[in-house]
Structure formats: structure tokens, C-alpha cells
């Protein structure tokens, strides 16, 4: 099957390669290297890279790196000015640091005559990823914007609905407030042997899956709560608002009792494993790019049907992986072409068809992806459009300080300590404030 696809891809690109053959011998190809996260779309990437190489006299080398190591690996190469990576992949909180340090090149001029392409990036995302201090720094090619992924079969079960209403006095439905979300989590937390959807459970069942392990994702989950309070991780003065963090932390702790014990050791992949094994009812504020993964639950758990919606209070972690060009690249022009290509409409269409979560309005709103036949891969696109609309104009100071990456890589420590019950929410908030102050050497500078 895979070979057929590859073959088709090669045939599809065969014509332009042939046309370019005289113009570009293999020896003349300019090598560029793209450092990115290992993932399922590597296979799709082979296709995309071939498409790019067909039109450009370039040889693209893709380096797959474990997500948790990507940041430091890229910084080391940037600091060493090795030129090893021409195109880098940045998390939203890392952009300001890379831009301020001159690790990446502004692409403002490059995109001056390609305004239409920039405008196609979902504006909410573009404001967070593309722009910094008035310049354009690259294109996001993949969004992990979070939402609510849940077991629709449970929330719509007549018996469960009735029991829920009897207990809480309102209808069981997709939650629109954190309070409702908590109630649902509590409601579905059941011991082995208890009834769920009228049948006895073969193992313990939990109301919510949480990512409270030693990974930065715990702050992604909490971000939605902080932001829906009208607060942010950093105030405009560059300090941590201790009270707001304490409150969000307490909300989080209240949820911990409805999550599997493994919550303290896992990140998103662990939560997806729990979902696919029929152990949890919903996810708190979860990366929607995992939808194709979550949708597998329907084949793995008998009777399961998955649903996706906006997060409660319409606020959740938002952002995308930005493609940017390294300042030490020896072929910046070709690297920029590659960024423009990967973030462009044609490549993003291919990417989406392979199960990738695109950042372009034209792709997300393409009717073919709304087709029920494609639901298992792109069923979350509609929800994403709704989130981008709800969060229009959203900004976070965490993404606008050059210390964002370091803060982001440290935050989970006090938060996880509190989640594990070692310290209180107040202590966690205070420790976070102290650590952030230490990282920034005072109040953090915020540049917009």
C-alpha cells in the first residue's frame, strides 16, 4: 500500500523532474537541511520534498529529532553557527528568542511580493507565530492548537444523560465552562465493576486524561484556564501573576483526582494511549493535531465514538510549529524558498491529506476535508476554524518575550510538583514567579 502511494508520488513528480533534468544535474543541487520533529508525516514529507526538488535545483535533507530535544539541539547548532540546519522548526514560545539572538533571518523582504501567501495563514496563528517586532520570521506549517476531544458515545448516551441530570441538575453536553468540565470528569470517574453505558466496567475508568508528567505540556493544559481568567503567564510588566497562577493551579488540582494515576508520568502520547484503551472519557485541553490518533479509539474500543469541540470558555493553548531560516545557513535563498513551499497552499494540501494539521485558511476550509469520509483524518478542521475565530487577536506575553523558550522549558517543574502533591498551589505559583525572575534577571522584557 505504502509503496503504491510512493510510486504514485514519483509518477506525479516524474514529469517536472524530467523537464528540469537538463537545467539541473544532481551534482549541481544545492543541499539544504531541515531539522524537524519525527512524526507520521515523514512519509508525507518524502512526497513534499520531491515536489520541491522538482522545481528547484536543491537537495533537501530532512533530520527527524525527538520533540523534547528539538529546542536544545537547534540552539546548540545556532550558537555554534555551524550552518548545519538551514531550516529550523520552532515552537511558538521559541520564536522571540531565536529572532532576538539573530539565530534566524527575517523574511519580511522575501514575502514583500508574496502577501497573498502570508494572508492565507490563519490570522490568529499568524499573529502568534509569523510576526515579531514588526517583522516576518517564517511560516507555521503545523498547528497543535488545543481543543476538547471526548467520547461522544458517552456524552450522548441516554442513560448517562439521565443520571447526570439527576445528579447535577443540568443536561450532560459538551462543556462550555470549566465548572461543567469538572462535573463531567467527576461524573465519569468510576471503579472497575461499576456500570458505564449500562455495562459493567472491566477496569477503572477516569473522567479526564491529564498531561501532568515531567514535560512542558502541563502548562499547555493550564494555559486555557489562565487565559480564560483574563490573565496570562506573564503580566505586561513581565512578572508572573501569582494569584492567577494559584487559582488555575487549584482548578487543575481539583481535576487530578479524576485522572488516571499515570497522569503524573505522561504527556500527550500517554493520554492518547489511555483514550485508545478506553480508560478516559475526555481530554482537558488537548492538541487537536492528535485527532487522527484519537479517532483510532473508534476501531479499538467497541462502541466508542469520538467528538471534537472548542475547549470550555473557548480558550486553549494555541500555536504552531514555525519554519524559519537559520542565520548561519549558507543557502538562505533556497531555504526561504523551501519555507514558502512547505507553508504554501499546494504542499499544505498534500500535508493535510496525509493527516497533518494545516495552518492555512484555504486548506482548513477546503470542502473535501469536511467530507464525512475524511472524518478520521481531518474531522477537527472545522473546530480549528471555530477556535481561530474565537481567539482572534489573542496574544500571550509568554510568546513575546525573548525568554519565552527558557521559561516554557522550566515552568513544568513547580506546576508538576504541585500536581504530585508535594507543594501547594500557592507555593507552585510563588516558585514559578521566582524562577521566571531568575531566568530573566528581573522582570521579563516583552517585545511585541
Amino acid at each position: 500500500m505504502k509503496r503504491t502511494i510512493l510510486l504514485a508520488a514519483m509518477m506525479a513528480t516524474a514529469a517536472p523532474v524530467g523537464a528540469q533534468a537538463q537545467a539541473c544535474a544532481d551534482a549541481d543541487r544545492v543541499p539544504i537541511t531541515w531539522s524537524t520533529i519525527a512524526g507520521f508525516y515523514t512519509d508525507a514529507m518524502a512526497k513534499l520534498v520531491a515536489g520541491f526538488e522538482a522545481d528547484h535545483c536543491v537537495k533537501v535533507n530532512v533530520v527527524n529529532i525527538d520533540n523534547s530535544q528539538l529546542y536544545n539541539k537547534q540552539v546548540i547548532e545556532m550558537v555554534g553557527e555551524t550552518g548545519a540546519y538551514d531550516v529550523v522548526t520552532l515552537e511558538t514560545s521559541e520564536k522571540a528568542e531565536f529572532a532576538e539572538n539573530g539565530f534566524i533571518l527575517p523574511m519580511t523582504e522575501y514575502f514583500a511580493d508574496k502577501k497573498a501567501q502570508l494572508d492565507d495563514v490563519a490570522p490568529t496563528l499568524a499573529a502568534l507565530t509569523v510576526q515579531y517586532k514588526g517583522d516576518v520570521w517564517g511560516l507555521p506549517y503545523y498547528t497543535y492548537t488545543a481543543g476538547y476531544i471526548y467520547r461522544a458515545d458517552l456524552l450522548e448516551d441516554a442513560g448517562e444523560k439521565e443520571a447526570f441530570k439527576a445528579k447535577y441538575g443540568y443536561d450532560l453536553a459538551v462543556p462550555t465552562t470549566w465548572k461543567q468540565h469538572r462535573d463531567i470528569a467527576e461524573f465519569f470517574t468510576r471503579k472497575k465493576g461499576a456500570m458505564l453505558k449500562g455495562a459493567p466496567l472491566e477496569k477503572d475508568f477516569y473522567g479526564v486524561g491529564l498531561m501532568a508528567g515531567p514535560f512542558p505540556e502541563i502548562q499547555d493544559e493550564m494555559s486555557g484556564v489562565i487565559w480564560s481568567q483574563g490573565a496570562d503567564w506573564l503580566t505586561d510588566d513581565g512578572v508572573v501573576p501569582v494569584d492567577a497562577v494559584e487559582k488555575a493551579m487549584n482548578d487543575y488540582l481539583a481535576l487530578m483526582q479524576f485522572a488516571p494515576p499515570a497522569a503524573l508520568t505522561v504527556t500527550y502520547d500517554g493520554v492518547m494511549n489511555q483514550m485508545k484503551d478506553g480508560q478516559i472519557a475526555q481530554t482537558y485541553s488537548f492538541f487537536l493535531d492528535q485527532w487522527p490518533n484519537a479517532a483510532q479509539t473508534e476501531t479499538l474500543v467497541p462502541g466508542a465514538r469520538m467528538g471534537v469541540a472548542e475547549a470550555p470558555e473557548k480558550k486553549a493553548y494555541i500555536g504552531g510549529f514555525l519554519l524559519a531560516v537559520s542565520a548561519s545557513s549558507t543557502h538562505p535563498k533556497e531555504a526561504m524558498d523551501f519555507v514558502a513551499y512547505l507553508g504554501g497552499h499546494d504542499a499544505q494540501m498534500e500535508f493535510a491529506k496525509a493527516g497533518g494539521t494545516s495552518t492555512l485558511m484555504s486548506v482548513l476550509s477546503d470542502p473535501q476535508f469536511a467530507d464525512p469520509a475524511n472524518r478520521a483524518k481531518t474531522g477537527h478542521f472545522g473546530t480549528l476554524l471555530a477556535i481561530f475565530d474565537s481567539m482572534k487577536g489573542f496574544r500571550s506575553n509568554l510568546f513575546d518575550t525573548p525568554f519565552g523558550a527558557k521559561i516554557y522549558n522550566t515552568m513544568q517543574i513547580p506546576l508538576q510538583s504541585a500536581a504530585a502533591g508535594q507543594i501547594t498551589a500557592r507555593q507552585a505559583a510563588e516558585q514559578l514567579a521566582a524562577q521566571v525572575e531568575k531566568i530573566c534577571g528581573g522582570p521579563c522584557p516583552i517585545g511585541k
Binding site: 537541511t33 507520521f40 508525516y41 515523514t42 527527524n64 530535544q69 555551524t82 548545519a84 492528535q290 490518533n293
Partner: protein, 286 residues
């Protein structure tokens, strides 16, 4: 009769305990190997599945799709070269310390103290050193630079030398001087005495040193991760390429891990007989 019964009970207890210990030791590895034959839907399930339809898909994915044997090849080249270097350089130095007591113990102490330095503390200087060497003609010619085998070979040689020298010194001390004297009187040069008399006698020590060095190189992660990118990456780094955005691909990881530990296990098992005497580091004189 009574005594035989009690000694039988003692033996039964002994072997019972041994079986428990071996079970504890072998089980995690066995589980890893078992996982490598599982189809994806049987890996992350509760309760754990012991019966499943075995598949070779994970190996296919690791070897064919991800070209994992490439990492094995890199690791083999780097580990074996480092080990040979460590053993040769280390044996020469150790012999000198053992026979001539160069530096009256101070140099030996200095060498041993470099083993104390945590790898993590030197990794960035190493990165910069190899970046700079890699830019020179010599570096390019010898393949010593970032993402080239030479950088790892040198790092591993450096990090294993202190331990190797330490081990070997005691083995050389066990060799009677008279043998060397008589060989010298036979007209053999000093180097030849080393090669023909001393080294063969110290073979168990050299073997055990080589085994430990090879194991260390094969399993090292931090240097491999920082100093390579792709071309010279080793198995421990290669395994990480299965940590994807969809989570860890447990089946393929298990397959890759099994492939990567297999050569070491075979090697260690093969060398085991040799190691028995070597393992006492010459410290027990029998």
C-alpha cells in the same frame, strides 16, 4: 539420609533463589523483545497481553523504512575503532606505569581524576572543539568534525582511557619481571618484549578492558546526541527517531532496541569465558 535431605533442601532453596534473581534480571529484556513482535493494537493495552499474533512489521519498519541498520553500522565502526585505540594507547601507558612507575603515581592519579569529570560538563566545549577541528583540512581529511565518526571516536577514547589504564596497570603488575628480563637477554627489543611476552600474558586483562570499553561506546548517548546529527549517529540516538509527534512507536522502538542490544549480547557472551579471570582485575592473586 537426614543430612542428604537437608542438603537437598539447601540446594533447592539455592536454585529457587537463583531462578528468582535471574527472572528479575532477564524479565525486562524479555518484555522488550516480546514487545518487538507485537502488532500496535496489542502494545498499550490494559491488562497487558501475553498472547498475540506475532508480527515482523516492527522489524520491517525499523530496518526497511527507517534504515536502522545504518545506525548499527555507524555504531560498529565508532565503537570498534575507539576500543582498539583505547586498548593500544591504554596498554602502552599502563605498562609504563606498572613497570617504571612513571610520575611516582601522580600522573596516574591525574589520569584517573579525569574520569571524574561529568560528561555533561564538557559536552559544549567538545562541540566547539570539534566544530573548529572540522573546519580545518586535517579535520576534514581525518573525518574529525561534527557529525563525523572521528569526533565520537576521539571522545570515547578520551572517556575510556582512564578506566582502561587503571584496569590494565594491575594486570601488568602481575606479570613476573623475570620473563621480560630473559626475553631482553634473548635480544628482543623492548617493543617486541611488549608484543610477544607482556601483552599475551595480560590477554585476559586486555580482553576485559576491551569488553568494557566496547560496551560503554556502544551504549553512550549524550556525546552521540550532541556531536552528531544524522550521518554519524549511533544506535542510542537512532532509537529516538521513533519518538514521534504521535508518541513513542513502542513496537518499532522495541524492534530497534532489540537489534541494537543483540550484537553486544552476543559479543559479551562470546567473551564471557575470557572475562572470568579478567573480571577480578588482577586484584586477587590466585
Amino acid at each position: 539420609m537426614l543430612q542428604r535431605d537437608s542438603s537437598f533442601a539447601k540446594e533447592a532453596l539455592r536454585y529457587g533463589l537463583i531462578v528468582i534473581v535471574l527472572g528479575f534480571i532477564v524479565f525486562p529484556i524479555l518484555w522488550m523483545v516480546l514487545t518487538s513482535f507485537k502488532p500496535p493494537q496489542d502494545v498499550m493495552v490494559s491488562p497487558p497481553r501475553f498472547l498475540f499474533t506475532p508480527t515482523l512489521d516492527n522489524y520491517y519498519h525499523a530496518i526497511v523504512d527507517k534504515n536502522f541498520l545504518f545506525y548499527i553500522k555507524n555504531t560498529l565502526v565508532i565503537s570498534v575503532t575507539s576500543t582498539v585505540l583505547v586498548v593500544i594507547i591504554g596498554a602502552l601507558a599502563a605498562y609504563s606505569f606498572a613497570r617504571y612507575n612513571v610520575g611516582d603515581g601522580h600522573i596516574l592519579f591525574f589520569i584517573l581524576s579525569t574520569k571524574m569529570f561529568p560528561a555533561i560538563a564538557v559536552i559544549l566545549p567538545y562541540f566547539l572543539i570539534f566544530r573548529n577541528i572540522g573546519k580545518t583540512d586535517v579535520g576534514r581529511f581525518l573525518g574529525i568534525g561534527l557529525d563525523q565518526p572521528g569526533a565520537l571516536i576521539i571522545s570515547y577514547t578520551m572517556f575510556n582511557l582512564p578506566f582502561a589504564i587503571w584496569l590494565l596497570v594491575s594486570f601488568f603488575q602481575d606479570i613476573p619481571r623475570e620473563l621480560e628480563h630473559s626475553a631482553r637477554l634473548d635480544g628482543l627489543s623492548r617493543l617486541k618484549v611488549l608484543r610477544k611476552v607482556v601483552f599475551p600474558l595480560a590477554a585476559p586483562g586486555i580482553a576485559v578492558t576491551g569488553v568494557f570499553t566496547l560496551i560503554f561506546c556502544w551504549n553512550e548517548f549524550l556525546f552521540a546526541y550532541i556531536l552528531t546529527r544524522q550521518k554519524a549517529s549511533t544506535v542510542t540516538v537512532g532509537v529516538e527517531s521513533f519518538f514521534t509527534l504521535q508518541g513513542i512507536l513502542w513496537g518499532p522502538v522495541a524492534a530497534a532496541a532489540t537489534i541494537s542490544v543483540l550484537p553486544m549480547m552476543i559479543f559479551v557472551l562470546a567473551m564471557q569465558r575470557y572475562m572470568v579471570r579478567g573480571l577480578t582485575f588482577g586484584a586477587v592473586r590466585g
